[in-house]
Symmetry: C2
Subunit: 380 residues, 2 copies
């Protein structure tokens, strides 16, 4: 596995940090998840099946669990010893907390100058809100994401999944590998930091670019694209189809399938700028044709013409979809004592050294004895 | 810079692939963006200021531009030569197109066995939809994301930013660094692949976990959290506040600030499960108090009590916010001939070898002569 041999001490809990270390674990890194005597709170969250939270199982696969009480001096010195053997430390404490515990930057450097210290936090460690606690919902609100998300006539909407957690966790995993690459040249570690808010700000894409270029604050446009038309959901006989022609070439292919290519000769529809001004009448022309045939018909016909087309699937449909199954995005993982747990698969496919399941999510403290008894034998 | 010395040949266009290579470029990799004579279509998209699309400038900073006509045999042989000197090839063609152009897996391995070949595509290269074109909106629909996103009484909503593009691009950058780490041991490259659909499926988090555990298809819950209460937007005197207490400890801190901690003795509100059943009456109790004071008051008081609290900011507010500015999430980059371009900063902070601007987004073909004339001198 590509990250085999990499040892990560993981002090994170809940979601953003655990997702970061799950991504490293899936590619073969050894993740030593340090938990207090009560364990990561996610062990108690979501539906519990056969004594196990499937939400916890999803995000903690491929990890080892070691229980330490970090209020206890002996356990803190065990943590020091562990850090001497590690390549990476990941934590999602609020800024300053780790220093208060005795593991400030200087102490970490003294313990292990090769250590990469990665932190996922709410707002970043510099700036007036650095000490504020944060969670996904707050980052969605404070990043501007909610202000543009949702239907034009409704209130600002959060994204349903905890995207700021997951995006920050993924950025952090990327940053860790970049620092590791650099350490291959310099021989020394450094600090890597990502924040829930900064991560989501970096994903505003053309919304931020357009704001910077024009000074106009973008509004919520629901399923309409602010700078492309036609685009969105259209009515078929038995449901809705999603169509997204991003350039003139695709618009032409789409309209040809509907026998509506003559519309492009109409000055109201001949350019994207004109189509944006006449979005409603254009959508009406399209709906008048799409409503005559089935969703399945249009998905095949429009894709065959080279224009992207699909439909809104609920989670039941997604996880039975032949493409999702062919991509192995649903996997069943045996958890001894808890039965088999279904979870999502690996979004990054490596051809020669693929991601995989080495071990299920650990019971609390399952690896304490094994890891700690071998600490002296671990090569530095 | 951490990725200095890494040479990436970049055949991508539009957004997902260019975002992947932008992330590598920001950390110092040399990105050779290969464009046809007409250039990446994004050069013409969004607001054009002083002859430059700021959307293009954002996602192509720190890159070099080389124009090649890949329908021309001489230019194809130049590409072969370039690939011999590269560490990474990134492309976002539909599966099979690169092979049709003469750069199938065997040819790439013959040219350069150390080459990492990374691909971002719509659905993945295996499975019944592999040949379909895709775009962000379609991936949002086909991944299940839209089915859970939006208000409970409205239609499925896409996320406003093109999240599936950006997430797949970020996953791809992560996968490239993992393959590079592995190459450090094995000496040989491999294929890395991410898809718009798979990336977004992997971010359904507790929504997929709960579906797998219970068989119940999650519904749209708007700004309510399906498994946590209280949570969401509450009314202050002069606007809304966003509050997200994720565990009982935070709920207690939040209610204490409002002088409502007695509610926790009420059996309707004593546990999270009970609070989910009585969400509306609990929210009413909270709104009755929060509406008496200002947004600013509550943000300070609730954060000081250790419970995350913020507000929905629009993009104008976000990019003047002191925290966003302190985090350098807004930067101004001089583009000779086009003036200064404002864009978002770097979400991954490395302490010793930080991300930075080495060069602005290139004019079309700006580096063709420089790169091609030095091709023979490039160390293999």
């Amino acid at each position: 596995m590509p990250l085999k041999g990499l040892r990560v001490v993981d002090l994170t809990r809940i979601l953003a940090g655990p997702f970061c270390t799950q991504l490293l674990a899936d590619l073969g890194a050894e993740i030593i998840k340090i938990e207090g005597p009560d364990g990561d709170p996610v062990r108690q969250q979501g539906a519990i099946v056969n004594g196990l939270s499937w939400y916890f199982a999803q995000f903690n696969r491929n990890k080892k669990s070691v229980v330490l009480n970090l209020y206890d001096d002996d356990d803190k010195s065990t943590l020091s010893h562990l850090l001497e053997t590690a390549d990476v430390l990941v934590e999602n404490f609020r800024p300053g907390i780790l220093s208060d515990m005795g593991f400030g930057p200087r102490e970490l450097e003294r313990l292990n100058p090769r250590l990469i210290h990665a932190s996922v936090n709410g707002y970043g460690t510099v700036g007036p809100y650095a000490d504020r606690p944060s969670f996904d919902f707050i980052a969605q609100a404070m990043s501007g994401f909610m202000s543009v998300n949702g239907p034009p006539d409704g209130e600002p909407q959060r994204a349903a999944p905890p995207l700021s957690d997951l995006i920050a966790g993924l950025y952090c995993a990327f940053g860790i590998l970049a620092a590791l690459h650099e350490r291959g040249n310099s021989g020394i570690g450094q600090q890597v930091e990502t924040s829930l808010t900064g991560g989501l700000v970096s994903m505003l894409a053309y919304l931020s670019a357009e704001y910077f270029a024009t000074g106009e604050i973008p509004k919520r446009t629901g399923n309409d694209h602010p700078i492309v038309s036609p685009y969105g959901l259209f009515r078929a006989k038995d449901g809705m189809i999603a169509v997204a022609p991003s350039t003139d070439v695709y618009v032409e292919r789409f309209l040809e399938v509907l026998d509506l290519e003559d519309l492009l000769a109409d000055p109201r529809y001949s350019t994207n700028s004109e189509r944006l001004l006449h979005r409603n009448t254009l959508s009406q022309c399209i709906n008048d044709v799409t409503c005559l045939r089935s969703v399945a018909h249009w998905i095949t016909a429009i894709n065959n013409a080279g224009c992207p087309c699909g439909r809104v699937m609920d989670l039941g449909e997604v996880f039975e979809d032949p493409q999702i199954l062919a991509q192995e995005m649903v996997i069943d993982v045996p958890h001894p004592g808890h039965g088999s747990v279904r979870m999502t698969g690996f979004p990054v496919k490596l051809s020669r050294t693929p991601a995989g399941i080495q071990r299920p999510a650990p019971d609390l403290g399952a690896d304490t004895e094994d890891i700690l008894s071998n600490l002296d034998q671990h090569p530095l």
